[in-house]
């Protein structure tokens, strides 16, 4: 055997196969990852990326799959996440997983606390130790804060920090950027690059090709559980990557924007609204602001982490307190004072946090999709199972959810497919105003195009849409107008066109 060849790989996974019942998630996958590189792993929703990485991190233990794992030239058996850690592998899983009742410091130290012997734990000492680590890595977290009180992006950052703290030889990041905004993504990339400079290896999963081009040295594409394509940085070509990912060429990602009728009815009028900061009851999160939403309009809300956009949507949905100001729905000021009433009035909110507040993970796809419309499939006082199933099937097909069997449990779907179910659930309510919070989070590029098409045609049918997205191109390409929030206030407004990306970035940071 050529030993130089072997040693140049930090990691080899050979002939890996794994199935869940009838689903063949991975089918003879072989992956080689160069020592000290940043290796991109891409592929459509359900292609098997997360499954492959769960095998690598000991989550699916040795014996539950076929194939071998070789680390720095030596074959290893990973029987538990602990084993993987001991071999220097750290993973940041796709779904947000933090221990909410523990502090940031305790979360980060957790893997260090797992020892056979019992040792004293000093809250103060550990917090100052972790704070030093955070500060020296420019990670903007407070080590004494409870993880439950963090925002979603902060939780994502916490997970990354926990993985980095162990100084892993191989760091696996499963779609870390799907809950981050532009400036945190930059920070993350800087950290990953500095790992690389120190000779460490990173596996990076994403659905955003621009990130691959930006960051990675090599890339592997999975399709339907097989390796479809591999190449090095010098051969990166987005069109070829996309084609290999989806098995065909994509066409236009974004639909043509329709002209907005200037005389269209004003659906929603928000006047001098002051919204509460849910983490500081009684305090406002933003200065007062006003805006209008017309029928058929797609209104984007832009900004960075913590700019309060999610809180605004939640306030309109009455799941976050409105301290003062007025909200008028088609001229009616008293349309709803509680979430169920607002929903009845035709306003639907699709959350950014599908795990914590979006889906019932312990239920199948069907009841998740129909959760909000059970009233419309009633026979007398009983549930009309057939009607329910038909509705669920239609919705699942429209969004191309895989697997297509609506009795599959949500927890067994890939992340992107869960996201599609979340959107389907909202669409089934046939809203007149649809509020989308990071709607394409974790969704692959082909499905993104489909979701964009759906949003576009809803707008054409006269639905008013408020879109929050941290992906600036998406925000600008879809929206007619974009309101930019930063520095605790509404900074300004711009036309939704891709040429404004730079301005949007500046205005988003500008208020800081």
């Amino acid at each position: 055997m050529d030993s130089i060849e072997v040693n140049s790989y930090a990691l080899e996974m050979s002939h890996i196969s794994k199935s869940f019942g009838r689903v063949q998630a991975l089918d003879d996958v072989s992956l080689k990852i160069t020592q000290g590189s940043i290796h991109g792993l891409i592929g459509q929703n359900g292609a098997g990326k997360s499954t492959l990485m769960k095998i690598l991190s000991g989550f699916y233990p040795d014996g539950s799959f076929d194939g071998t794992i070789t680390l720095a030239g030596k074959e290893v058996q990973l029987r538990s996440p602990r084993d993987a850690q001991n071999f220097g592998i750290a993973i940041v899983p796709q779904e947000i997983t933090v221990a909410g009742t523990l502090t940031v410091a305790e979360n980060i130290l957790l893997s260090e606390l797992v020892t056979k012997s019992i040792k004293f734990f000093s809250k103060r000492k550990s917090e100052s130790k972790v704070q030093t680590f955070l500060d020296s890595n420019h990670i903007p977290l407070d080590s004494s804060q409870l993880a439950d009180s963090l925002t979603l992006p902060q939780k994502q950052i916490l997970m990354i920090a926990s993985a980095l703290y162990a100084q892993p030889k191989v760091l696996v990041l499963d779609e870390p950027t799907s809950s981050l905004t532009a400036d945190e993504i930059e920070t993350l990339f800087a950290m990953v690059r500095s790992l690389k400079d120190r000779g460490f290896t990173t596996v990076f999963i994403t659905h955003k090709l621009s990130e691959i081009v930006d960051l990675c040295d090599e890339v592997s594409i999975l399709r339907d559980g097989r390796v479809a394509y591999e190449c090095k940085r010098q051969d990166f070509d987005t069109d070829i990557l996309v084609e290999n990912m989806i098995g065909r060429s994509l066409g236009d990602l974004y639909p043509m924007k329709n002209e907005l009728d200037p005389n269209a009815e004003i659906l929603l009028r928000v006047k001098d609204l002051i919204v509460e900061n849910p983490r500081q009851p009684g305090e406002k999160i933003l200065d007062e602001f006003s805006f209008e939403l017309r029928a058929g309009e797609i209104l984007g809300l832009g900004g960075l982490l913590g700019s309060g956009r999610t809180e605004i949507l939640k306030a309109l949905y009455r799941d976050n307190k409105i301290l003062s100001g007025e909200v008028e729905l088609s001229g009616d000021k008293s349309f709803g004072r509680s979430t169920p009433k607002v929903l009845q009035a035709g306003i639907c909110y699709i959350t950014e946090d599908r795990k914590a507040e979006g889906l019932f993970f312990n239920l199948p796809i069907r009841p998740n999709l129909t959760a909000k419309i059970l009233n419309s499939c009633k026979k007398w006082i009983f549930l009309d199972r057939k009607a329910e199933k038909t509705l669920a099937n239609e919705s699942s097909q429209a969004l191309d959810v895989k697997p297509s069997d609506v009795e599959t449990f949500i927890g067994n779907l890939s992340g992107g497919n869960q996201q599609k179910v979340l959107i389907g659930k909202g669409l089934l309510t046939k809203p007149t105003i649809l509020m989308l919070d990071e709607p394409t989070k974790g969704v692959d590029i082909a499905s993104k195009a489909e979701i964009y098409q759906i949003v576009h045609s809803l707008a054409e049918q006269g639905v008013g849409i408020i879109l929050v997205s941290s992906e600036f191109p998406e925000l600008l390409e879809l929206s007619h107008r974009v309101l930019v929030f930063s520095g605790g206030k509404l900074q300004g407004e711009m036309i939704g066109k891709i040429e404004n990306e730079h301005d949007l970035m500046l205005m988003s940071i500008g208020g800081k």
């Binding site: 997983t97 957790l110 734990f121 699709i350």
Partner: protein, 314 residues
């Protein structure tokens, strides 16, 4: 009385307990005598020992409903060995504790490897342990404990022995839960099992240890009761599971796991005991006693209210 923002939740509870104590003392001054206080404390010792480690188990996200029954079974086993087989006190101790360890192991096995929710598995264990106790003792109280037991009980140490054991246990458990790596790991499991697994926690191992500790703690309570009463009855410990749960919640524990306070548990059961004793001493009508207990429990929950709402969106 106004609580400052900085008063810790535990401190607020201490103050609340003192207020309630003060109210009863105002009604009946003899409530505050040494003898009365001692009897109140003595009144919580056995349920307290039995449920101390339950706090840790609940912090890790599991339940044990069988504690009271295990206390009874351990007391009966100890009693039978002492009276019928004349086994010495130390071996009785070992046998009693062994009962708890075995029960804990079975609970862990059924819950963790049989995938039965701990709530249900330990209800089953409650029935099994209690009928075993009945069966072994033929439902007869065991009264004729031999000499060393009586002698120990009547000595000065014997008088305060149970309180001493309880205090030690509480301190140990509180340190274990909130000031060691083991406690943090246990809480992390209750908080988010997946996160704990990713961090490399062997979830089943930690939970097994906690089930066994809980069983052993409940069994210890039975042994200490044998010494204190020099007798054992199968009815010992009935209803303690509810008392313990109420005490835990009043004391600021979360039944969903993720955190815990043993000191809170002590305050919780102490509060209930003060109310119960206080009402008897103040001659409050029997019918009202239960109602008032309920009301005090509710008010005490409001002392440190943190509402959490979960909505499902999308």
């Amino acid at each position: 009385m106004k609580f400052s923002i900085n008063t810790s939740p535990l401190m607020k509870r201490v103050i609340f307990v003192l207020i309630i104590f003060g109210i009863f003392t105002a009604l009946k001054p003899e409530f505050a005598t040494y003898a009365s206080i001692l009897s109140i404390v003595q009144g919580i010792v056995f349920v307290g020992i039995s449920s101390t480690f339950l706090t840790l188990l609940i912090a890790s996200g599991e339940f044990d409903i069988s504690i009271g029954a295990v206390t009874a079974l351990s007391a009966i086993v100890g009693g039978m060995l002492a009276t019928h087989l004349h086994v010495n006190m130390f071996l009785c101790f070992c046998a009693s504790i062994l009962v708890g360890v075995v029960v804990g192991l079975i609970n862990a096995l059924v819950v963790l490897y049989g995938n039965v929710p701990s709530f249900i598995a330990t209800i089953a264990m409650l029935f099994i342990a209690r009928s075993l106790a009945d069966f072994i003792s033929q439902s007869e109280p065991i009264l004729n404990f031999p000499q060393p037991w009586h002698g120990f009980k009547d000595s000065f140490i014997g008088n305060y022995f149970s309180i001493f054991i309880f205090a030690i246990l509480v301190i140990l458990a509180e340190i274990l839960l909130n000031h060691t790596n083991f406690g943090k790991v246990a809480a992390s499991i209750g908080s988010n099992k997946e996160a704990a697994r990713i961090a490399g926690v062997n979830v089943n191992r930690v939970k097994t240890i906690l089930f066994v500790l809980t069983g052993a703690g409940a069994a210890l309570s039975g042994y200490v009761a044998d010494i204190y009463f020099s007798s054992s009855r199968t009815s010992l410990g009935s209803g303690w599971e509810l008392l313990a749960i109420a005490g835990l919640v009043i004391g600021g524990n979360s039944l969903f796991g993720g955190r815990g306070t043993v000191l809170g548990l002590v305050l919780g059961i102490l509060l209930m005991q003060i109310v119960a004793t206080g009402m008897v001493i103040s001659n409050i009508n029997q019918w009202w006693q239960t109602v008032i207990t309920g009301v005090v429990v509710l008010i005490s929950l409001g002392v440190d209210k943190k509402r959490k709402k979960v909505f499902v969106h999308g």
